[in-house]
Symmetry: C2
Subunit: 221 residues, 2 copies
């Protein structure tokens, strides 16, 4: 039957990990906040054991930092470290786009065109939430198009680590239109299999996003 087994039989540790990860990347739990094993255990109705395992997993993802005997805190990178991560994010997305330009099938390129057309509609409608969703799909389509599971893995991992520090909802209408125009450059480069062009265009696109963040001077409490 369709949609069966949504509550897949997962371990408690896995479920706690997913919940905590979601809370962190969504900004529900802010960087710098300490994670108390006991509190979390009682809040989720489990013992401290799976909570500990979940926290260790989150630490390995870079979402939290554990200080031996002193508990874990949600990661709050130094501004420079954050800048480094944004720069590498741009490089990684550039690599994805370059490979996509080289490797995408005809069908995948057509799909990318449809995604970009949908983005255009969101811009014309000035539908910012819709744009954000379609934007995610745009980038995901290019990730998949790189045809390299490992590159996708580290790109997504980096994006997840940066999530707590993105505030794309602050995106202005002007930025929306410029973003769409940048996408157009990327798409056309991919369509003509211009690897270097696609890579450079994507890298520049992501760096603009970074600069937007930096201009905001956003520092989580």
């Amino acid at each position: 039957m369709a949609g069966m087994d949504v509550n897949k039989r997962k371990t408690l540790a896995e479920r706690v990990k997913e919940q905590l990860a979601q809370a962190i990347v969504s900004g529900e739990i802010l960087p710098g906040v300490t994670l108390d094993e006991g509190d979390i255990a009682t809040r989720y109705g489990v013992s401290r054991t799976p909570v500990r395992e979940a926290i260790r997993d989150l630490a390995a993802m870079g979402l939290v930092q554990v200080r031996p005997h002193r508990g874990a805190i949600v990661t709050r990178p130094e501004p420079q470290q954050l800048a480094h991560m944004f720069e590498v994010m741009a490089d990684l997305e550039g690599l994805c786009a370059g490979r996509a330009a080289r490797c995408m099938s005809i069908f995948e390129r057509e799909e990318l065109g449809r995604v970009q057309a949908h983005l255009g509609k969101m811009v014309r409608d000035n539908d910012i939430p819709g744009y954000r969703v379609a934007n995610e799909e745009f980038h995901s389509t290019i990730y998949e198009g790189c045809h390299n599971r490992y590159l996708i893995e580290i790109t997504l991992a980096t994006r997840r680590r940066l999530s707590p520090f993105r505030r794309a909802q602050f995106m202005s209408a002007g930025r929306l239109a410029r973003s769409y125009a940048e996408h157009d450059v990327i798409v056309s480069a991919i369509m003509r299999a211009d690897e270097a062009g696609a890579s450079a265009a994507m890298r520049a696109h992501i760096l603009v996003v970074e600069n937007t963040f930096e201009q905001m001077g956003f520092v989580p409490a």
Copy 2:
């Protein structure tokens, strides 16, 4: 006193993790082998609790894979996945070299020159173990030269994941000389701050290493 505190006060989980990681990357424990929590616990003289934490950490590093309720095995990637990782390793090292060409200080460039000169001596002496050590130093020098902590982090993490599948000790004398020549191209590009040149040269250099592995058709038992 010199060399004090080698047994730094670490948690048991950390020490078990380090020991297991070393055993895995060195090939002492082969890919595909299952890790029995009980066995490991008794072998290290600890309880299962820190062993479980260590295994979860190793899983997050990609060194092992945990199947819920079915134990953990040392990661044995599919050949294609391994190829993907080698390709990305080349890209990452290329990014490091490109940034190094842009960012290295005068002093760092001089240091790189000394490291390369030392490599040359190893080649002339046909000292393969010495070359391997100096080669590690060469790449580490470039990693540091990229001045981006996060890029270094993911590059080292990728190298560690690939370690079980490297068998550089099989390097021939001819390959040694060619490797040194490739290094020369990289170094000269970095010296003249040629970012694109350094990046491309490094990427090509690593891809040659990959092909060497593939030609060997190495598949761990």
